[in-house]
Symmetry: C2
Subunit: 351 residues, 2 copies
C-alpha cells in the first residue's frame, strides 16, 4: 500500500520532543516567548471565540475540553485534573492539544500539553504579575511546591525580576524537591514554616495547590496591603484556595468572567461582585493596580485562549526533527471514495 | 534518556491500522458488531452524559467536539464538516477520537475516526432502519453517492436484508464510483435519473448529501406511505435535505432532541413538534412504526454516544500489532517533579 500523502500526516510533538525543544530554546526564554504570545493574543481578545470549557466531573476529578478559535486557527486542549492520581504515581494534570486550520478543519499539529500547560500557566501568571504587582517587586511567596511551582518561580522572575522566593508546602518533601530544583537557578531561597510566614513581606504571593475542595491555604489576615496574589490552584467548582473574607479586600482580575464565576475563587462571592477582565488591563482600556496599597488578585483558572497562544508558539518554534508524522487523517485519492481507499488497503498495515 | 513508562504511552490507531483491522474483521462483520454495541449503549441511554456537541462554525464549515461519558469511560471525537474541501482534494469530514478512563483522566486509546465515523454512522442508520422500516424491506434508495454511501448500503443490508439498491446523485461520476465499488458485493443495483425515481417503490430511502445549506434533495410528493426515511446528510444549523412540507407527514425519530432541534431536519419545524427518541424504541418503552402506512423518519445528526460505542468496540477489537504507542502523557518518576523530569532530559529527543 502507498504511504499516506502529506494531507493525511499530522505533525505530533511527543513529551520527549517537547522536553528537547524546551532545552534547546531554554526554559526562561520559552516562558518569555509564550508570555509574549499570550499578551499579544489578550490584546486582540475580541478576535477569539470565548466558549467556557466543557467539563465532565466525576468523584475522582474532572476531564475538560477547552476549544477556541480566532477564525484562522482552531485549538483545543484535553486536560484532566485528578488530585488522587499522585497516590498511584500518575500526574494530577495530564494534557494534550491540537491546532487546526479553520478553512479546512484539518489538524496541523497534535502535541503533548502536560509540559506545555505548565509553561503557559506560569507564563500567564507572570503576565498578570507584570501588569498588577507593584513596581520593583523582588519577593515571591510560593505556597504549594508541586509540579507547577518551578515554572511559576521562573516565569515570574523572568517578567518581574522577583528572585527572592519564600516557600511553603504542607508536605516538606515537596519543598525539599523545589529547593533542589531551584538551587542551580540563581534564586534567593527561604523555606518557611507556614503559608502565613511565607507570605509575610512578599510582593507577590502565588497559591498553587491541588486539593479538590474549598481549602484555605492562607489566612486572610496574612495578606498585607500592596501585595499581588496569584491564585492558580483553585480552578473548578468546589475547589478554591483563599478564605472568602479575604476576597472583598482585593481588586480582582480574571480571564473570562463566565468561566471564573463558576470555577475561580470568586465562586465564593455574589455573582455580581465587580471584577476586571485582565485583557483590558493589558490593552490599556481598564485600570490595573490603582496605588501602592491595593491588594491585587489574579483569580486564575486557565482559559482556552492561553492554550491557543501556546500552540501557536509551538507551531512556530518546533523543528521537523522534533515532530513525528502521524497518519491521523484518511486521505483517499478521490475524497468521495473512502470505500475505495479501504478496499485498496489490505489486512497488513504498512504505516 | 530512559524511554517513557507504560503510563505515558497511549495506543494510537492510524488510518492504515484501521483499514487493516476492518479487512481482518470484514466490513460487514465490523458494521454488525458496531451496530450491536450502539444498540446496547442506546438501551442504557440514561447511563450517559448527554451534552450536545460543541461546534465552531465558520463560513467554510464547522469543527466540532463531541464528548460523552458513562462514568467509567470518557470519549470525545474531533470532527470537521467542510463541503468545499473536496474541491482541493481533502475530505469533507475528517475525524479522530479518544477514549479515556474516568477514574484517572488518562487516555487509553487515540484513533483516526474518519473511517470509524463512516462505520458508526452507517451502523446507526442500520439500527434505526431495523427498528423502524417495515418488515421484509428489500429495496433501499440511496440519494447521495459520496464517501458515506457504500457504508450505508452494506450496513442496512446487514441489518435489514435490503439488497436492492436504487442510486441517484446530482453528479453521475459519484454514482459510477458507487456502482464500481458495490459491483463485487452482491447487490441488485439500479441507477436512477432523479432522486424521485430512486425513491419510487423503495422500502428505505437514505439521503446522504453534503451541501451546507437548506437543500431539497427529494420532492415531498416522491415519498410514499410505508417508507422509512433515513436522513443522514442534514446535520448542522442551516443544513437540511428534506422539504419542510414533508416532515409533518412523518413519524419522526431522533437521537438527542436538544441537539437535533438545532441541527436536524426538524430545525425546519416548530420547536415543540413531537418527536420520539430512538433509544426508547430500541429499549421498548416507546412505539416505533405503528402500521404499514406510516412514513418513519430517522432524523440522524450523529450523537456522541455513537462515537463512544465505536471507540469501545475498537478498544476491544484492536490488536497490539495494529497500534503504535504514543508518548503523549508526561510521566515523571515523582508526579510532583515535572521540572526534574524536564531537566533530566536533554536537547536530543530519544523518542
Amino acid at each position: 500500500m502507498a504511504a499516506p500523502s502529506d494531507k493525511a500526516l499530522v505533525p505530533f510533538v511527543s513529551v520527549a520532543h517537547m522536553m528537547a525543544l524546551v532545552h534547546r530554546i531554554g526554559p526562561e526564554t520559552a516562558l518569555q516567548e509564550i508570555a509574549a504570545v499570550i499578551e499579544a493574543d489578550f490584546r486582540r481578545w475580541d478576535s477569539f471565540d470565548r466558549t467556557p470549557r466543557l467539563p465532565a466531573h466525576s468523584p475522582q476529578g474532572v476531564i475538560e475540553l477547552m476549544p477556541t478559535t480566532d477564525g484562522a486557527h482552531y485549538s483545543f486542549k484535553y486536560v484532566n485534573g485528578h488530585p488522587g492520581n499522585t497516590r498511584t504515581g500518575l500526574q494530577t494534570v495530564a494534557a494534550f492539544g491540537l491546532l487546526a486550520e479553520v478553512a479546512t478543519g484539518y489538524p496541523v499539529l497534535l502535541t503533548e500539553m502536560t509540559l506545555l500547560t505548565a509553561l503557559r500557566t506560569a507564563a500567564m501568571s507572570a503576565v498578570a504579575a507584570k501588569h498588577l504587582a507593584r513596581p520593583g517587586a523582588r519577593t515571591h511567596a510560593l505556597i504549594g511546591n508541586g509540579a507547577q511551582s518551578e515554572f511559576q518561580a521562573l516565569a515570574i522572575r523572568a517578567l518581574t525580576g522577583a528572585d527572592r522566593l519564600r516557600l511553603f508546602d504542607t508536605d516538606p518533601a515537596a519543598t525539599a524537591k523545589l529547593m533542589r530544583n531551584l538551587a542551580p537557578l540563581g534564586f534567593h531561597l527561604t523555606t518557611c514554616p507556614s503559608a502565613e510566614d511565607a507570605a509575610a513581606g512578599a510582593d507577590i504571593v502565588t497559591t498553587v495547590t491541588a486539593d479538590k475542595r474549598n481549602a484555605r491555604v492562607l489566612a486572610a489576615n496574612a495578606v498585607a496591603p500592596g501585595q499581588h496574589l496569584n491564585a492558580v490552584g483553585g480552578d473548578c467548582p468546589g475547589k478554591t484556595e483563599l478564605p472568602p473574607e479575604l476576597l472583598p479586600r482585593c481588586a480582582i482580575f480574571v480571564e473570562h468572567p463566565p468561566q471564573t464565576r463558576v470555577e475561580g475563587e470568586i465562586q465564593q462571592l455574589p455573582s455580581d461582585h465587580p471584577v476586571t477582565e485582565l485583557h483590558r488591563v493589558i490593552a490599556g482600556t481598564a485600570p490595573g493596580r490603582r496605588g501602592p496599597d491595593d491588594i491585587t488578585l489574579f483569580d486564575s483558572v486557565g482559559f482556552a485562549i492561553e492554550d491557543f497562544s501556546a500552540l501557536v508558539w509551538l507551531k512556530a518554534r518546533v523543528t521537523p526533527d522534533l515532530c513525528q508524522p502521524l497518519d491521523l487523517i484518511a486521505d483517499p485519492d478521490d475524497p468521495r471514495d473512502l470505500w475505495g481507499m479501504l478496499m485498496r488497503a489490505g489486512p497488513d498495515a504498512s504505516v
